[in-house]
Amino acid sequence: MVVASPMVTGRSRVIARTQVLVPTFMRGRIALITGTVLLVISAIGCIGAPLFTQYSPTAIDPLNPLLAPFSPGHLLGTDEFGRDLLSRILYGGRYDLAIAFGATSVTMVFGMLVGLFAGHFGRPFGTIAMRFVDLVFAFPFIVLVIAIIAMLGPSLFNLFIALWVASWVSYARIAHGRTVSANGYGYVVAARALGFSRLRIIFRHTLPSVLPACLIFAMVDAVGNVLLGASLGFLGIGIRQPTPEWGSIIAEGQNYILSEWWLSILPGIALVVLGVALSLIGDGLADALRPRDAR
């Protein structure tokens, strides 16, 4: 009987079924490799932006507005202020990558620690912590993020704070669940009986069974954070003009969607590629990290 874990997007099973063509050791790795390659390409393009374009993303050129892609000197054309679209996409991606990793890594570590300790210590600390998690879950994620940004004032740093505050709870819930089940495993019971310190039990014995689930979820979460960051840029909350960020570039291009559609569609494609890359890595990880007999 096959029961898919809710976090696995099912890609793994496509690969499981093409097993005639794909050697056993490669199963699930195709998604992982494809995703990593896409991510590395995006990261090189964005971090090494000055290598690929000579223009500043905010340099205005009033003489050359709204050039079409493949215009001389501007591979992807220019926007209404004559700013080079390629350099805006490459430099702008830095913000989206920063959100993907900066926001997600902090919440993962913090949420996982809360879940580990809550699951290990139980009452009263664990119960209080998990009730607090329930509370944060009661709000729609986007509403909470927007509310926090609204109160603190729109800026990239406040966007990070809002994402940190609102999204660590998912990891806490996952880690708590895994820790509670790990508490019943023989090796954890044995470690307790041997009188190991609590920290040793938590980090040496419990963490290995908690980390994979959190890591897999982190990839799904990173996609969500990137999309949210772009959505807020699109709405004009969060990262402000003239900072190039994919969401805000798409929003600006929307005014010209009838004639110069590429102004919105090209940064949109960049966003989708980053999202797909992270999803594929998540799927591949889910498959690679699953215990061997469950494959």
Binding site: V3, V14, A230, L235, I257, G275, S279
Partner: protein, 315 residues
């Protein structure tokens, strides 16, 4: 009687969360740097007027007293005054709520219409065209931000082939359906990815159970087995998945309402951020929290009353 007892118990469990939501909303507005009286008075600021405003808002009292005042006011629906509209926030919310609830319900219906056939067929014909197609569609669909789907749909069906209106809310039921079709489908696409995955897994699980094998051995047609055994057992867990992920759908409306200029709560929230209308943001946070809680309670009740295996005593 048992249902009433269950209801009472569930509502009792929700009260701490409900109080927590009010505490978070109360704390939120206190994160704002600066003087609320200055925000409210603007150019008319004088120390005397500021003192009066602070007294009227209860800001000259202690923090617990202020919270108690906030709680008492919230319970009777007094959510404060908007800085920008100079109107009761509760009134603004009441005016804009119908558009949002209509959009959420419409998107929910469309999600079910997309997810149930796709999820079932994907599970029945594993590896088939629908299964493979759905997988690629949803891999991309999940990575596509809602606002981009919205922009693409506006470009396609609002401008190139103008069959749908692209902004506003319309009048009358038919008008609402027409105006909200594109926004609702925009919300339904990412939301159905979650449901298809879960439904596909459940159907595969149900197909492997003994009672399905028995039904097949009795010689029932596959359609009868599907209708009588597979679907009822697969769709029940979907109600729970739907309820758990509802906050995702509600959050999506915030973005999509702005893309399609729908006069709902989401566009109110975003415009209040730009106008720095903090009481509105606070009230909406409270309102959305309570709304999600209430709908979760409803889906719980629906699940319990539809699933004969769950007796009310056990839960």
């Amino acid at each position: 009687m048992q249902l009433l007892f269950y209801l009472g118990k569930r509502i009792g469990q929700l009260i701490p969360i409900l109080l927590g939501i009010t505490v978070v909303s109360f704390v939120l507005i206190r994160l704002v740097p600066g003087d609320p009286a200055l925000q409210l008075l603007g150019n008319h600021y004088t120390p005397q007027a500021a003192a009066l405003v602070n007294h009227n808002l209860g800001l000259d009292r202690s923090i617990p007293a202020q919270y108690w005042l906030f709680l008492r006011h919230s319970v009777v629906g007094n959510l404060g005054m908007s800085y920008f509209y100079h109107d009761a926030v509760a009134h603004e919310i009441a005016v804009r709520f119908p558009a949002t609830i209509f959009l959420i319900a419409f998107a929910g219906v469309l999600t079910v219409l997309i997810a149930v056939p796709l999820g079932t067929i994907s599970a029945l014909r594993q590896g088939g065209v629908v299964d493979q197609g759905a997988r690629v569609f949803f891999l991309v669909g999940y990575a596509l931000p809602g606002f981009l789907i919205g922009v693409l749909l506006i470009l396609l069906f609002g401008v190139k082939i103008p069959i749908f209106p692209i902004q506003g809310y319309g009048t009358g039921f038919a008008g609402h359906i027409g105006h909200l079709f594109l926004p609702a489908i925009t919300l339904a696409i990412p939301f159905s990815t979650v449901l298809v995955r879960s439904l596909r897994a459940t159907v595969i699980e149900v197909l492997g159970t003994d009672y399905v094998t028995t039904a097949k051995l009795k010689g029932l047609s596959w359609f009868t087995v599907l209708r009588r055994d597979v679907l009822p057992n697969s769709l029940l867990p979907l109600i729970v998945v739907f309820g758990v992920n509802l906050a995702f759908l509600v959050g999506g409306t915030v973005i999509i309402e702005n893309v399609f200029s729908i006069p709902g709560l989401g566009s109110l929230l975003v415009s209040s951020v730009s106008t720095r209308d903090f009481p509105v943001v606070q009230a909406l946070t409270l309102f959305f929290g309570v709304f999600v809680l209430a709908v979760n309670l409803l889906t719980d009740i629906l699940h319990v009353s539809l699933d004969p295996r769950l007796t009310l005593k056990a839960v």
